[in-house]
Symmetry: C2
Subunit: 300 residues, 2 copies
């Protein structure tokens, strides 16, 4: 792991339940400044059951031998102003946004000093921002906050608002496969073709370093939707409530170890091989196995 890699990063992962098995949580710690000595703060704001969710993360990070773990139980914009919390977010090495409702995240943290501290530290320090589910969806400048697309793509049904703004030029959807969200992600990108659509399946995560290199982590499926070369859509042309058509989006599938360069829009496919117990290692086809692969080993 080089310094650049740990300087600015963002780990997003949809389903905390299997975090531990999948090695994604472990990877967060590996990428953090002081490893198991890092100060981790869990932000449960998105959740309606913050105590329960907070406990789960305390336990999961504890099992990874992290000793400094706290929960920032921020439920209102008033809470977010508390000097104690501002102080804790200034000192944390890792903040972890749990799942829940991403609109709670944006409406409670939007425009706060709390959020600005995180953004500044994310720019300048070896500070890890991680998020799962709603916590991942809210990481980008634009986020999808509601919208079914089980039937036709209906103009006006997918709704987008400002997210927390840690990452530009992407729009992230989670629980992507199980909840059948390909339609809504295609819609979101068709209406914002400059954005890269990212659909995270269960047990899929992305590690974003330097704000522009994304690495697939976890065993799940990540779908990328690139609308920059979209041939045609009638999205601007049809009335609200009418079905939308879209022609020739570029869609890619990222698997574990693949990297995507956001500045170049280039996907670098890397071979992974299954070894045992569902554990993947990067194939020795050029790059030699590095410390990252160790994180994918089963816990002993």
């Amino acid at each position: 792991m080089n310094t650049a890699l740990s300087a600015q990063e963002n780990i997003i992962k949809p389903d905390h339940l299997k975090f531990f098995e999948e090695g994604i949580l472990k990877r967060i710690i590996t990428e953090s400044a002081k490893k198991t000595g890092s100060v981790v703060e869990v932000i449960t704001t998105a959740s309606q059951i913050p105590e329960l969710v907070g406990e789960e993360y305390l336990e999961a990070f504890g099992q990874l031998n992290v000793t400094h773990i706290g929960v920032l139980d921020i439920r209102t914009r008033e809470d977010a102003k508390k000097e104690e919390y501002l102080d804790r977010v200034r000192k944390a090495d890792v903040v972890m946004f749990t799942g829940g409702d991403q609109l709670r995240l944006s409406s409670i943290f939007g425009g706060t000093e709390f959020l600005q501290i995180m953004k500044d530290r994310y720019q300048d320090e070896p500070f890890v921002i991680a998020g799962t589910s709603a916590g991942a969806a809210a990481a980008s400048t634009n986020m999808i906050y509601r919208g079914q697309s089980n039937k036709a793509l209906i103009k006006g049904e997918v709704q987008i608002t400002a997210g927390l703004g840690f990452i530009d030029s992407v729009i992230i959807d989670t629980h992507f496969v199980q909840r059948g969200r390909i339609g809504r992600l295609l819609y979101a990108v068709a209406s914002n073709p400059g954005m890269l659509g990212i659909g995270l399946g269960e047990d899929a995560g992305l590690l974003i370093t330097e704000g522009n290199t994304m690495e697939a982590i976890g065993s799940g499926l990540t779908i990328l939707v690139n609308g920059r070369k979209m041939a045609e859509t009638n999205i601007y042309d049809v009335e609200m409530g009418s079905p939308v058509s879209i022609k020739n989006m570029r869609v890619s599938v990222m698997s574990i170890f693949d990297k995507y360069d956001l500045s170049q829009n280039a996907l670098n496919i890397k071979k992974a091989v299954k070894v045992e117990n569902g554990v993947f290692l990067a194939a020795p086809d050029g790059e030699k196995l590095d410390s990252r692969t160790k994180n994918q080993e089963p816990r002993s």
Copy 2:
């Protein structure tokens, strides 16, 4: 409706439960040689509950004022040889394959005279072949018959075999959105890039005329995956059990009234407008509303 349109066709639709409301079943009758006077045979072979499913279709076609409706309750290859059934399929104007397990369809009908009669008539006569769910999935030369892709795209997990072979060069997946099958369709096309992948959502259907023009019917979402210009995949390169990556598939969204020319791989997007009760009409932006739109009107 011109003669060419009704000469050879195939209607595929995933979910029979809402058939009637969606006007898709009605469209099948409109496209048939003798309209409500057509002889309709329902083939329940795919289903494990053929009596129940057969009854549903008898009722649904009955409500459309079709008077000659029968159920071909073929459960084995022996059944498929019965002279009575061969005779009935020779006389039918419409055959309707119900849902169930597409592998039952291919293994029971593959290589039979029964299937050959349908293929010959489909080539030469105004004969409508319709299918829902498994009945739609089995219509193409290659069909997906099993495969989860909820997690990573794992080499070997999506399995393809020969379908009934009414349509070449496409591979059809159904219940596409609700069951989160984008991964498995991308996989199927990446391994057969000459095939056009078709993902039918709930309440989506395609009308295929002349073997090469597809029209989206029903209110649902149809996704097209074109692999001909896929930039890269490691599908041939990784071992069985390892995750697969895919770069730059062309993905399009078809909505009601859109047409796709299979011979040219060209999507022709048509504006639809919502009028009332979830009913769509083609917008009067060039082509004038024709008899088809009448089928989309609510039942009186």
